[in-house]
Amino acid sequence: MTPAERAKQPPAKVPRDGPKLTGPKLEEKLAETWSNPPGFIGWLSSVDHKDIGRRYVITALIFLALAGALAVVMRLQLSKPDNDLIGAARYNEIFTMHGTTMMFLFAVPVMQGMQIYLTPLMIGTRSNAFPRLNAFSYWTYLAGGCLLWVAFILNIAPDIGWFAYPPLSGPQFGVGKRADIWAQMVTFTEVAALAAAVSLTATILKQRAPGMSLARMPIFVWATLVTSLMVIFSMPSVALASSLLLSDRLVGTHFYNPAENGDALLWQHLFWFFGHPEVYIIFLPATGFVSEIVATFSRRTIVMYPIVVMSLVATGILAFGLWVHHMFATGLPRIGYSFYTAASMSVSIPTGLQIFCWIATLWEGRPRLQVPLLYVIGFIFTFVIGGLTGVIIAAVPLDLQLHDTYFIVAHFHYVLIGGAVFPLLGAITYWYPKATGRMMSETLGKVSFWMIFLGFQLAFFPMHIAGINGMPRRVYSYPAGMGLELPNLLSSIGSMVVAVAVLLFVINMVVSLRGGLKAAPNPWGAPSLEWATSCPPPKYNFPHIPVVDSRTPLWDAGEKMSVVHGLRVEERELLLTTVMHAKPDLREPSAEPSIWPFIATLATTVMFVSSIFSPWAVVIGAMPVIIALTAWFWPKSPAPEREPVIS
């Protein structure tokens, strides 16, 4: 048939959602289209963003528990001076594993996991962009985590610190393959994070519900967008740094060898160019959580939404100009340091504005003191201390005393636990009903909140004192008589309290799966789109794609929300909208479940792990990767289009 003749044919009968196909009949068809294949292979092939987000969060929480257990062991060793519970070499492995796991295997993945789960639901679409890339991202992250922890179990854990400065991590002083395992784990997690960030960025820019202009996006979605762009710009730096290190160690290049015109500081610049944005990559999604929780629990929209959004963007941009504040002791020119002092101080301004907006929202609203809001309040009390100690160490004369002491350990735990973990726990409590259909126990939630909040203060506040009293970082023991006994003992006791509290939180999560109160679709009375569908959401997220006309669709339109009609029902199809104003633009097929992302991860794992031992592995190992990628991207057979295509 020629195209002209085909255009004259009546349109084929393609089932679409609409006034004729709605309700349970529509949901049945959609469920079938969007479900996973059965069995274990089907479980491995899932590209559903909810599955992937859930896997990310659960895996990250397991790594949190493992790294937290290591922290408890470290605190036991440091509870007394001259303690001999753990020897020097083992302690160095433990703090390296603790830091590396927390930063690479918990903090960034858990935020990305929450983002992957929530973003399509919050913007009113059925899936992430690039669903198979998303799946690949999770499996690659899991492979990197397994590499590190299997190495720990086999007693070849890295012992060079989470930041792995050469020459200590270099070929001469980093003995054996421990540092290579660390560097290759970084490659895995960096690839995973990049893949997830690319998918999230595309999802947010092109798949929002009609009417959800950029100015109407939930703040969490803005935070996700800014964070994902930060990941894309910063992760390649650490991947480059670790690849250069692997190259030095494996084939004797001289990137970090000062005797051959390399430079040990090259590593520090490359690493911290990633490392500083990394902590904002962890912090900004947490501010997104806080904005959502504050709005819901104050029963009003966030005050001055444009200010909050601009603060997120400003923080994201400024974060790239601060990295040398990790290098104030290295002897670089002082005039350069002044710039970084000024930049480091000024990055607190956008965050200060966000804090104002949150407190103003609570002030103008009617706060309900339930567990998620308690975590937000704990976050503000704790994070602001961390932010203020950050202002202190932004000044060079102060940093030169406090750098590499327990004062810094206190500072970053205040901003990371206070600034990211507290909002995360609040967010898990808040979105738990959405993901599981049950509420977490409010009483147990309050108990674990108070324990974790007070235990945290007990554990980490004394570290400020220990640092000023002369305790450097990364020491397996300290001598008696320097005023370090009391702060360390208090910290150790506090860490036990925190450990028990986190355990209680996890117990709450597990027990509430069966025993929690059943949740209505919108148990908190929240305004954003994810609460417009059932708890837990069906595989297809929404029976009809919603149309929004405000920042708080469920509060404004509520039951009378308009929806989109006309998307296909028997094939996976998404609605793409324009970037700025979210006008409906295109219909786009969405990828079916596929085993190839998992197989591509296996091939990549073999290639990366064996390249620790031989450079030939990069060449030979690339073959299976190419085969897997080819199979993944193999185009579907071009069946004739059943409908006329408007050209």
Partner: protein, 333 residues
């Protein structure tokens, strides 16, 4: 409430420390204490403002019932925008003030260090400090290890090098830290203002015994420093009795001499701490053990049990040799 406790514990713990950033015994550290106090005041005020606002915000209209129906969830009171502006200006003014204070402190530190009258070179190794007092006259160069003596009130310039990995030179009572980076030369300026015994420690993770890489610092009067310096210029004290002679024979002909140097003897190794005046030091093995006879026995007999992983091997000495060596080393004052 945490702040009150902090101040209390600061007062209790701070003043007595030998490795304490609040000691204020050096010019740079005194500047640190002053600047830190300024920052603490400003930061505490900001924290109290935020905390008070949060507490009031949460407390004033807490309710349990849902009230979206009154349709006020988009309205914002008129006071919010001016409050935001005031808050932003407050933060900006505070930060600018703190940055200026920091700048002036930096200038003061630079001025204090601009005209040094004493010059040292400290080379860091895994896990000990090689200290050399520089002098244009080669016969006046003093080489020691793991300790520094400084005359009070005399600005000293310390050139910092590393033989292996990145270390950090930190004497908190006197000044901030500076990294020692292989392939680069950095420097630190020390201007001690009060006499006393202090302790420094490596502050950049440098391997398995990073925790036991400390430095004994003695700040004394100029006269005492000159006496010490003159004593350091002397060669190692010769053995004074048969036991010390046996020790001398062992140390200068066997394993010890491969790595250690004792001036005026055949022991001329240069890859381990200089032992010429070893017994005059306050500690053994870079602060790992206080200097006394028992510790000396323990260290010489089995250094790997005291500081596992360090480069001094356990030799497996016979008892007679051990007694002789310790007797000789104890006399190297």
């Amino acid at each position: 409430m945490q702040r009150g406790g902090a101040y209390l514990s600061l007062c209790v713990t701070s003043c007595a420390g030998v490795q304490n950033a609040f000691g204020g015994q050096g010019a740079e550290d005194a500047n640190f204490v002053r600047l830190f106090a300024v920052f603490m005041v400003v930061c505490t005020v900001m924290y109290l403002i935020v905390s008070a606002a949060l507490v009031i915000a949460v407390w004033r209209r807490r309710q349990a019932t849902l009230t979206i129906e009154d349709r006020k969830h988009h309205e914002t009171s008129a006071a919010t925008r001016p409050a935001l502006i005031v808050w932003t200006v407050l933060i900006a003014v505070g930060l600018v003030g703190l940055t200026i204070a920091s700048f002036f402190t930096d200038r003061s530190n630079a001025a204090n260090g601009s005209k040094p009258r004493l010059s040292l070179t400290v080379t860091a190794n895994q896990w000990w400090w090689d200290v050399e007092y520089n002098s244009p006259d080669a016969s006046k160069i003093v080489r020691t290890a793991n300790e520094i003596h400084l005359p009070v009130g005399v600005p000293a310039q310390v050139t910092l090098k590393s033989n292996d990995v990145i270390h950090s030179f930190w004497i908190p009572n006197l000044a901030g830290k500076q990294d020692l980076i292989p392939g680069r030369v950095t420097d630190a300026q020390l201007l001690p203002r009060k006499t006393g015994l202090f302790r420094g420690q490596c502050a950049e993770f440098c391997g398995v015994q990073h925790a036991q890489m400390a430095l004994d610092v003695t700040v004394e009067s100029k006269a005492a420093f000159d006496r010490w310096y003159a004593a350091q210029l002397q060669p190692g004290r010769p053995p004074a009795n048969p036991l010390q002679l046996a020790g001398y024979r062992y140390v200068t002909t066997r394993e010890c001499s491969s790595c250690h140097n004792i001036s005026g003897t055949p022991a001329g190794g240069h890859v381990a701490p200089d032992l010429t005046h070893f017994a005059s030091r306050r500690s053994i093995a870079a602060g790992a053990l206080p200097m006394n006879r028992g510790n000396l026995y323990g260290w010489v007999a089995d250094p790997q049990s005291q500081k596992p992983g360090n480069h001094m091997p356990t030799v497996g000495l016979a008892a007679n040799d051990l007694h002789a060596i310790v007797a000789y080393l104890e006399a190297l004052k």
